[in-house]
Amino acid sequence: MNTDNQNAQMRKGVLELCILSIVKEQDAYASDIIAKLKEARLIVVEGTLYPLLTRLKNEGLTTYRWEESKSGPPRKYHQITDMGIQTLADLKADWKDLVGSVEKIIQCV
């Protein structure tokens, strides 16, 4: 249970990092984000994404705009905010630190 929980906590952080990275690169539509995350095998079910997107938006890290679409109703495009860029930089640094530290230990053993 404990490892499971940590695992989950870790994945949550990582997912947020990935989503922020994706939307920083380019304003993205939910399906684009899903496609990328699925490709990287980070998520299995798509429902996971929406609570995360809403949370990022509520925390002020992302925002969205509506864009007309040729093949249907308007689409919600997510874009990163200044605060989001700042947070992303922090998260990225943390991530690299973590990976570096973990790599070191794993390689030593």
């Binding site: 949550k12 299995v44 093949s71």
Partner: protein, 542 residues
């Protein structure tokens, strides 16, 4: 052939099979419930709906225009069940989500192992315990004041019986992931093909978890306790509702009975009449305000709060939706009723505003004699009602209600020491009215006779009102002044008027009193002494 429905999902119109529609709306409901505790749940749901719409439109083409069960299942598999979403997103799937997800354990009465109604064995099944322990706890609580019985009855009412196989599976609950698989099997037996993949994922997760799940008994037990407490809480609400509803209903019935005079007096004692509300109001104000009007006001002002109590009690029990605007409407009617009540109160007050009294001295023929006899006019119609043991008492005012529903007022007889050596008697009549003139008219309407004849004073036993007249504060006071050392003898039947000096006299025998230096005392002619009652009593005790 299948029936299809048209739905608007994320702004796109789809034709969808009925069964597919049911599954989809079920799924969306589940998500809705699941996310309801998150901030921005509506946004999340809208996004999900838009995505589902997008996935659907990918599935539609020129030749395929209807969304089928298979499509919906595929989409659900892609979007994920709430539990899967939680797990991936890193939220702990803990107690708070348990109540929301359909697949979780539920509380049922266990019909297979029941002693009475299966409540205990249901709890036991929930907690994975032997039912014996739960029954033991119930027996102990039964011994301790019977609280257990109440809880048992409430749980019996509240908890459904496990009827189907799936109910029984849910009742036992098992581990959470296995139950999810059970749920999948149960709910989606027709849609297996689309589901197999995600089931495999789940089973893998289960196997992975199996090693770590040894400590989960406490988790399960904890959840069980939460669930039990939820039911106990619900039970208490139902109990409160029951009390409110029954009390409300009872009081409404009592109110109606009171207002229409079926039962219950304003003042009831062994020898005091049942003066019912309609009669009391008719007596008091019936001449000016219709009794029915007052009954309606009473029903509104007192009845509406009682009705709301009853209604809310019922709602607590049966949890039906509130009836729109009922509370507001009732409140408005109540306020109007209150206004009319205040207005009537003011009107009644006005009816009694002015007070008039008339004092006359009754000239005795032999004021200097030793003993004053006080008797009744034997031809007075009130004589028939002497000993009529139905009294109306209001403060220091007393009267009787006759069989003809007439009000007879009992004269207030006061005994005082005379300032000289002569007997003297004064009579004061009182009445009230809307104005001075009316008060005087009411005063004149009092039917009461008093006269001196020989050494005796004769009075009517009761003061009567003119027929069909309402009571307007009418009353008669007789003040008898007795010189010190002299006697007064009342007719034995004066006992029936229960004057306030009545307690001094024996229950039998003469009503003979002597005015002594320290006030009026009973005089016992048999003892042939001036001994007071106390001394006499002390003698007989010796």
């Amino acid at each position: 052939m299948k029936k299809t429905l048209t739905i608007n999902l994320g702004g796109i119109v789809f034709h969808i099979d009925e069964d597919a529609y049911l599954l989809l709306s079920q799924y969306l409901n589940r998500l809705n419930k699941h996310f309801s505790r998150l901030e921005g749940s509506q946004d999340i749901l809208n996004d999900i709906e838009s995505r589902i719409a997008e996935l659907f439109s990918e599935k539609c083409s020129g030749t395929k225009q209807v969304i089928t069960l298979v499509d919906v299942n595929e989409v659900i598999a892609v979007m994920g069940q709430p539990v899967e979403i939680d797990r991936e997103e890193g939220r702990e799937t803990n107690a708070d989500s348990s109540g929301n997800d359909k697949g979780d354990k539920r509380f049922f009465r266990n019909p297979d192992e029941k002693m009475i109604a299966g409540v205990c064995s249901g709890i036991a099944a929930w907690l994975h315990l032997d039912p014996v322990w739960i029954r033991l706890i119930f027996l102990v609580s039964l011994a301790a004041g019977g609280f257990g019985l109440l809880v048992y009855l409430v749980l019996w009412i509240v908890i459904p019986e496990a009827k189907t196989t799936s109910d029984k599976l849910e009742m036992r609950g098992a581990k959470i992931n296995i139950s999810n698989i059970e749920k999948s099997v149960r709910e989606e037996i027709t849609e297996l093909q689309g589901k197999l993949g995600s089931m495999a994922v789940e089973s893998m997760a289960t196997i992975k978890r199996a090693g770590a799940s040894s400590g989960s008994f406490f988790e399960v037990a904890g959840k069980g306790i939460v669930e039990v407490l939820t039911y106990v809480g619900r039970g208490l609400v139902i109990l409160t509702g029951l009390v409110l509803a029954l009390l409300g209903l009872g009081l409404i019935i009592a109110l109606v009975a009171f207002a229409f005079g079926w039962t219950g007096g304003l003042y009831a004692d062994n020898d005091v009449t049942m003066l019912t509300f309609p009669y009391f109001t008719r007596l008091l104000i019936g001449c000016n305000i219709p009794v029915g009007y007052l009954q309606i006001i009473l029903m509104v002002v007192v009845g509406i709060p009682l009705f709301m109590m009853f209604y809310n009690g019922l709602r607590m029990i049966f949890r039906f939706d509130r009836i729109r605007h009922l509370g507001l409407t009732m409140f408005n009617i109540w306020v109007v009723g209150l206004f009319f009540l205040a207005w009537s109160g003011f009107k009644v007050f006005r009816l009694f505003q002015f007070k008039e009294e008339k004092k006359i001295e009754i000239a005795l023929e032999k004021p200097a004699s030793d003993t004053l006899q006080v008797k009744f006019f034997e031809d007075d119609p009130g004589i028939a009602y002497l000993g009529y043991e139905k009294y109306v008492i209001a403060d220091n005012w007393r009267g009787i209600i006759t069989d003809n529903k007439e009000l007879y007022m009992i004269p207030h007889i006061m005994l005082e020491e005379s300032s000289d050596s002569l007997f003297s008697v004064s009579q004061v009549t009182l009445a009230r009215g809307k104005n001075r003139l009316e008060a005087l008219q009411h005063l004149a309407g009092i039917r009461f006779q008093s006269a001196a004849s020989g050494s005796a004073l004769r009075i009517s036993p009761f003061a009567r009102l003119p027929k069909e007249e309402c009571w307007r504060g009418e009353g008669v006071n007789i003040l008898i002044r007795i010189p010190q050392g002299k006697f007064i003898r009342f007719d034995k039947r004066f006992r029936d008027l229960k004057p306030n000096w009545y307690y001094m006299a024996d229950s039998e025998g003469e009503l003979l009193f002597k005015m002594t230096g320290s006030g009026i005392e009973e005089f016992d002619p048999a003892s042939d002494s001036l001994a007071s009652k106390e001394i006499h009593a002390a003698d007989s005790a010796r």
